[in-house]
C-alpha cells in the first residue's frame, strides 16, 4: 500500500505521524487527529509501518464488521512510509521528538509542568471542564468521545502550520510543543476568567437560562432574550411568561424552575418540527436535539454534502468549503 500524495492547500507538505514507547493512549488520538487535519488539508501523512499493531483499531465505537469507526476516521488517507529530509514529525513520544534531526517537529505532552498520567477524563477533571455539565448530586458528565485528544491534536496541527508558515514566509521552522491539559484549560478560559475576575458563580448547578427541554418526540434547545419574551409566550401559549419576573435574564435565572415548568408543560404534547416551524416565524432561533443520523439526513447538511463517500464508506468531510467546494472534492478532482 502506498500513501496517496496529498492535493489541496497543503499539497507538498510531508508529515510523519509517529508514536513510540513513550506514547500514551490519549496522545495517540491527539497525534492521529493532528495528522487527520493535515491530511484533509492536502498534506501527505505517513504512519510508519514498523510502529507495531495500532491499538486504535480496537477502540470504540466498533462497526458491524468488527472494525473501529475511530480508526477509520483518524487514519483514512494515510499510509506507511519512511521519513525524508524536510518532513515534519508529529509525536507524543518525547524521545522520538528529541531524536528528530531538525526543528520540523511538534511534541504533544499530557501536561507542561508535571509528569503524571492523564486520560481524557482526568484532563477534563483537572481543567475544570468536568464542572460544567451534569446535575447536582450526581457524577459530572464528560464531553463525549475523544474531545481532549481531538482538541490537543487541533492545537498541535496549528503549531505545525505556524512553524511551516514561518519557514514558507522566509524564516526558520520552529519546534512546536503543546500540552493536552493546557489546551483543555484554554478551552475553558471564559469559565476560569469569570471566577478569577470574581464576576459570577459557575459550575454544575449554576442557573443556565437556556436548557434542553423535552417535547413529544424528542428534545428542543430553546433560545430567547429579553426582547423575545412576548414571542416566547405566544409560542408556548402561556401568558404567565409575560410576567415581570421573567422579563429580564436575572429574573429568569431567579425563577428558572418555574419558567421551565411552564415551558415543559407547553411543549409536552407538541412535535419538534411543529415547534421549530412556529419558532422560525416568531424569530426564535430554537434548535432540535439531533442524533448523528438525523444530522446527516438534515437538509442543510445534505445540501452541503457534509457526509462524503470514502473508499471505506461514508465519512464527514472537512467542515469548511474552499472557494465554494469541499477540499475533499478538490482532492478527488470533482465538484462539490
Amino acid at each position: 500500500m502506498t500513501t496517496p500524495l496529498g492535493h489541496g492547500p497543503l499539497s507538498g507538505l510531508r508529515i510523519i505521524e509517529q508514536v513510540g514507547a513513550g506514547s500514551t493512549d490519549m496522545g495517540r488520538v491527539a497525534v492521529a487527529f493532528a495528522g487527520l487535519l493535515a491530511q484533509r488539508f492536502g498534506a501527505t501523512v505517513f504512519r510508519p509501518a514498523d510502529a507495531g499493531p495500532d491499538p486504535i483499531m480496537q477502540w470504540p465505537p466498533m462497526l458491524a464488521d468488527g472494525s473501529s469507526a475511530l480508526h477509520r476516521f483518524l487514519t483514512a488517507g494515510k499510509g506507511p512510509g519512511d521519513a525524508q529530509p524536510g518532513d515534519y514529525l508529529l509525536s507524543d513520544d518525547p524521545d522520538l521528538v528529541a531524536a528528530w534531526s531538525d526543528d520540523r517537529k511538534v511534541l504533544i505532552r499530557p501536561t507542561l509542568d508535571e509528569a503524571r498520567p492523564q486520560s481524557d477524563l482526568t484532563v477534563m477533571a483537572a481543567s475544570g471542564l468536568l464542572d460544567i455539565v451534569g446535575e447536582v448530586g450526581r457524577a459530572p458528565l464528560a464531553l463525549p468521545g475523544y474531545q481532549m485528544g481531538y482538541v490537543a491534536g487541533m492545537v498541535a496541527f496549528n503549531a505545525l502550520l505556524a512553524s511551516h508558515l514561518a519557514s514558507v514566509l522566509g524564516g526558520k521552522p520552529l519546534a512546536g510543543e503543546i500540552a493536552v491539559l493546557e489546551a483543555a484549560r484554554w478551552l475553558n478560559w471564559k469559565n476560569l476568567l469569570s471566577e478569577v475576575s470574581g464576576q459570577r458563580a459557575s459550575g454544575v448547578g449554576r442557573a443556565e437560562e437556556w436548557q434542553i427541554t423535552r417535547c413529544k418526540d424528542g428534545y428542543i434547545a430553546p433560545v430567547f432574550r429579553d426582547r423575545d419574551m412576548p414571542n416566547l409566550a405566544r409560542l408556548m401559549r402561556e401568558p404567565a411568561l409575560l410576567e415581570e419576573r421573567f422579563a429580564t435574564a436575572a429574573g429568569r435565572r431567579r425563577n428558572l424552575a418555574e419558567m421551565y415548568r411552564l415551558i415543559e408543560a407547553a411543549l409536552a404534547d407538541r412535535m419538534a418540527q411543529d415547534i421549530l416551524l412556529e419558532a422560525v416565524e416568531l424569530k426564535l432561533p430554537f434548535a432540535q436535539v439531533q442524533s448523528p443520523e438525523q444530522v446527516a439526513a438534515d437538509p442543510q447538511m445534505q445540501h452541503r454534502q457534509f457526509i462524503v463517500e470514502g473508499p471505506l464508506g461514508p465519512m464527514p468531510r472537512l467542515p469548511l468549503l474552499w472557494n465554494g467546494r469541499s477540499v475533499e472534492a478538490w482532492q478527488a478532482g470533482g465538484e462539490a
Binding site: 492547500p9 465505537p61 477533571a125 519546534a175
Partner: protein, 384 residues
Amino acid sequence: MTLQALAGIRVLDLGIVTAGAATSGVLADLGAEVIKIEGPTYIDPFRDWQGTGDGDWWEQSPPYRATNRNKKSACLDLKSPRGRDLFLQLVGLSDVVVENFRVGVLDKLGIGFETLRQANPRIVLASLSSQGATGPGAGNVSFGSTLEASSGLAHLTRYPGGKPQITGRALNYPDQIVSMFAAGAVMAALVERQRTGQGVHIDLAQRELSSFFVGEAFIAALDGALPEDYPVGPPAMLQALSRGEDGQWIAVTIPASASAAAEHLIGALTGQALAAFIGGRPAAEGARALRRAGAAAEVVVAARDYADPHGPAPGNALALDDAGHQVKGQPIRLGGRDAGTAAAVAPLGRDNRYVASGLLGLNDAQYDALLAEGIFATRPRTTE
C-alpha cells in the same frame, strides 16, 4: 510579546464576540498584525458583557478584553461609501479578513468576497457562520447551545437514559473549538497562497465543525452501530468518577499497565471497590495514592479553584496583559517559548491614525476631516 511565527502577515478583523474575534486573537498570538475594525454604529457586542469598571462602558468587559488582546483597534464606518472605500484600500495592503457576521451582511456592506478579491487577488477571507454560506439553513442564527443540539454533540452527552445535555454559556464548546480550527484554516490558506499567488474564501460552518469533532460517531451511526452509552476516551481497565469522604469528586482511569498495582491498592478492579477506596479518604489523598499506582487520577476542580492563589495554576490558559489584566492565553509553544505577556486590548479607535496615515497615506488634516465626518471615530455613536 507574541510567538512571531506570522510576522509580516496583516489581518483585518471584523470578528465579533467569540468565534471571529477569537480566531483573529489566535493569529495575533502567533505574531500576525491584527487590526480589529469596528464601526461607530456597530461595535463588537462582547463589549457589553460583564463590564463593571469606571470609565467608558465599552472598554470594561473582561471577556472582550480577554479575546482582543494583542490587536490594534480602528473604528471605521463601513456603512458609509467613504469608509467602505478606505476599507477596500486596506484590504489591498492586507493578507487576511476574518468575519462572523450573519450570512449576507458582508455583501450588503458591499465588501463580499468578489469585491475583496478585486481589491486584492491574494486576500484570504475567513467567513465563520452557523450553517455555512450556502443551503436552506444558511441564514439561520445559532448560539453555542443550539449548535450543540443540532450537531449531534448534545445527543451523545447524557446520563444513561437521561435527557441530552449542553455545556451552556459557561463554556459554549462549539464557540471555543472554532477559533483554533479557523486559525488553522487561515494558515493553510496562506501556505497555499505562497504557492499559487491566489487568495481564497473559507466558508466555515460551526455546526459542521461541531459534528466533525464526533466524526467517528457519524461513521458508526451511518453503519447502524452507534452505541447507546457513548465512550469517553480510549478504553481502560476501569474508568469512573467517585467521591472522596470530603464530598469532592475525582476522575480515575486505570490503564492495563497499572491494573496490577491498582488492584492491589483498591482490592479489585470494579467501580464498587474504587468507590469504597476513594470514599474512605479525602479525594486528593485518594488521587495521589492511585497516581502512585500508575493510574490517571485527578480531583474534579471547579473554575473557582483557579481564583484561589494556592490552587492549580492556569498555565497558558490565561495570560497577563501588560496592563495587569488576566486575558485569554495561547497553548502553543514555538521554539521553546510561549506567547508571554499579551499587549492589552486597545481602546476603541486607538490606532485610527496608524491606519489612516501609516497605512493609507492620509495626512493629518485629511484624517481630522474624516474624524469630524464620523467616518473614523473613537467612541460608539449609539451612546450619545
